[in-house]
Symmetry: C2
Subunit: 253 residues, 2 copies
Amino acid sequence: MTEIPKDHPRYESLLAREKVVAGVKMGITSVQGLIAQGRGESFDYLIGERSIESALHAERVAVAALLLANNPVISVNGNVAALSPEKVVSLADITGASIEVNLFHRTETRVHLIIEQLKASGASEVLGKNPDASLELSHARRLVESKGIYTADVVLVPLEDGDRCEKLVEMGKTVITIDLNPLSRTSRTATISIVDNLIRALENMARFAREMKHEKKEELVKLITTYDNKTVLFEAISEIQEHLKAHAAEMEY
Amino acid sequence: MTEIPKDHPRYESLLAREKVVAGVKMGITSVQGLIAQGRGESFDYLIGERSIESALHAERVAVAALLLANNPVISVNGNVAALSPEKVVSLADITGASIEVNLFHRTETRVHLIIEQLKASGASEVLGKNPDASLELSHARRLVESKGIYTADVVLVPLEDGDRCEKLVEMGKTVITIDLNPLSRTSRTATISIVDNLIRALENMARFAREMKHEKKEELVKLITTYDNKTVLFEAISEIQEHLKAHAAEMEY
């Protein structure tokens, strides 16, 4: 990886970029995954490269949903595996969620490499190698395991495409997404839309999960029943607008 | 390339994505170029994937600058070569500009492949293979030809990085950029900042150049002297604001 000085103002962002480039070189991330990373960078820049209040709230609610679930599953694709395998494993450990690899540009080699990457990061079991069930979708993302995503009641699908997100919601699942674009179909379709950078979101969620796993069940239920996803998306859009306004003001207009 | 149905609502955007992926496979575009493409996609989405009024104005002014220049040069990198080599060649032909290859992640193979790509698209001469001059920059983008970018009075640098843009402006050149992010250092530093998609911008500029090359010199000069780049950037930001507002309204808030 290219050396990035730690005091660079955009250190985290540049480091993430290098991780995804390394993911492509290792065969974990698809070439298309780099374009997705770039799209995310723009929106992260527009929300100020920090976890905004509404995102932190959505993250808490998402953790409540994972903790209350009967069969929570975290879905992992090539970008997630390149960016933060350890954080996925640690969130899964704390919440008792299963991990399942699910790829748009699926090849058996990529599935294998990602499973190895997650195991090297501490995962004991990773699903996705032997998909015995299928969602009603036309591409490879339909392939799932019956004991994993197929029967899950709560699914965390970071960096998801709109189609699959919609299908999982249709199946009656609580779908948590992490997507920096508050206008995307994914964000607009999910049950809980976290508009935050993947690494920051997983880090926050692990911290919240450690705190919240000792809370009373009714407190967690209350968090979920009072949650309004539209407000969260609206607030993310407002943040971007504020950011743009500040920039325009800087230009002395 | 992956087949994209022509009636897909985002056909142009998906086609551009496939072209950059193909560029990487051919060795023309760097892997980092894909991330840049993704960043552009987000901003293009936010301005509505069309050439906004202020961009069309900046494009006319840029064409005037190219037509009036003594030594106009169009700088080409791996993304530009992958996305629209023919449009670069045609704009160069109409305006009498030279073409010079200039790469951040420079290798002799990439320079060679890009020159071949431009020649296959109709270019008779392409500079950049034998850089005999140097800008005061630390990376490979410093390498330029003395009869090209080094002595150019007007340089079109589409998809440029902030550092080099700044340096060229410091050298007293008229610097025209094409960058979908109106907040980027490139956009804020350039003399004429075109906030538009590369392919649309080059197409518009070639059309304008055909019309404007028969105009009186004083008309072209007037276009340039009355131009205000800050207003253009401000209007691009306003367009994004309007777009976000419309989206937020759609969410019924």
